[in-house]
Subunit: 220 residues, 2 copies
DNA sequence: GATCCCATTCTGGGATACCAAATTGGTATC
DNA sequence: GATACCAATTTGGTATCCCAGAATGGGATC
């Protein structure tokens, strides 16, 4: 694997895992020494992460993208459009047996499953559901949107009830898809996305001071 | 303006203007000498164009992305999802006076307008319409999709009637938006996008041999 | 003590040198 | 004439060096 891919992957994981906080400054030299690569692959990796929205330019330098509440709301609208479109497309397919795999993914989580795993499965549910549509662009759009939402979802304070609620909503959506009921599935998915957005933004808005105290930039 | 942006912009224009044909091989050294920049900005520019889908990796090297008919069909589905979502969003806005600007854009084209300008305005119509929604992600999605479609639309054989038809459809969509009739606008836009797709793919499929004879790679 | 200014440091942007792998072209062999 | 093989060349990947401009910090001045 090339140095560029190495740096890109590791840096992405550090950012998504909040090991580098939203709003923190980055210098190419720091990344260079941190991962033992030279500046050429480092710069290539930074350029790629910039297009993913994980880092952004800050004048001449680089900054880990802050959590942006207005952006989170816009992403939810975007997600709703592409995810519902993908879902409707999937409902028109003859062979929808792949929903079983996603169902199995959900069922692999139980009370003993660590929070981190719930988080990952919750994201993968949406990504894999979009992949079923067979449309590469809808799939990528959902995957990229989930990447952008990832850190915020991780910061969200979620109780057991909220996790169970999401789990139930995911299952309900799959049931509708399996039945081929596109309208119901779409309605459930829309409600799920918008509901999640509202809880997410509310949670972050309430915790804004605490998050800032932890050194995380949360804007708008 | 930086060298990277220079190379990126000029190379993008060469690719979109078909000065470099779909499927042609690119070497970093050629780009380097062609634009008088060194490899560092050239590589940065290539990485960015790769994320735009205008070039793609070909083993170790670079290739100008071929025209991919299957991809064009998928993009149309993607476009339909995001453009309709943006349109519906726009219809909910109080102030939709900006549609007048787009209308003026359309009306700036007449019989004497060169074909190239019709082409550009046809793309900008969709991009600017999406921008009105105020949702940055829907807007970018449409802009990126139009960029990916650009070369294919340019290759399409379109007669006067087809151009006039698109013009009329664009106007009908704007009228519905101005009236705030989201459902009608959405229906018209969907039909327009899918109709355009069918004509585009049919045209390219028929011309496939001719296009290949001109050195343009057209796959699937 | 506050403020202005200048030298130093640091940063990203660019250019270039080097390397390993892959491609290529030609030649020798069958 | 086809094919196998080897050397020269070319390629992208990487490391490193240089530069101009921005940021920084300390000291002089008021």
């Amino acid at each position: 694997m090339s140095q560029m891919q190495n740096v890109e992957r590791q840096l992405r994981e550090m950012i998504l895992g909040l090991e580098i906080g939203p709003g923190e400054r980055l210098t190419e030299r720091w990344v260079e020494s941190r991962f033992g690569a030279s500046r050429t692959p480092v710069r290539a990796a930074l350029l790629r992460l910039e297009t993913e929205g994980l880092i952004c330019r800050d004048g001449r330098g680089w900054t880990v993208s802050p959590i942006n509440l207005a952006e989170l709301e816009q992403i939810a609208v975007y997600r709703e459009a592409v995810e519902v479109a993908a879902l409707r497309l999937t409902c028109t397919l003859q062979d929808r047996s792949a929903v079983e795999i996603i169902e199995g993914m959900l069922d692999s989580c139980d009370d003993k499953t660590p929070r981190e795993e719930w988080h990952r499965v919750g994201m993968d549910f949406h990504i894999e559901l979009a992949r079923l549509s067979g449309n590469e662009f809808l799939f990528r759009a959902v995957r990229d949107a989930m990447t952008r939402l990832s850190r915020a979802r991780w910061l969200e304070v979620r109780d057991e009830a909220a996790l169970g609620r999401a789990w139930a909503e995911h299952h309900a959506i799959l049931s509708a898809v399996r039945a081929g009921d596109a309208d119901s599935a779409a309605r459930l998915l829309s409600a799920h996305i918008i509901g999640s957005r509202d809880r997410l933004v509310t949670s972050l808005r309430n915790d804004r001071r605490g998050l800032r105290a932890r050194g995380f930039a949360v804007v708008a």
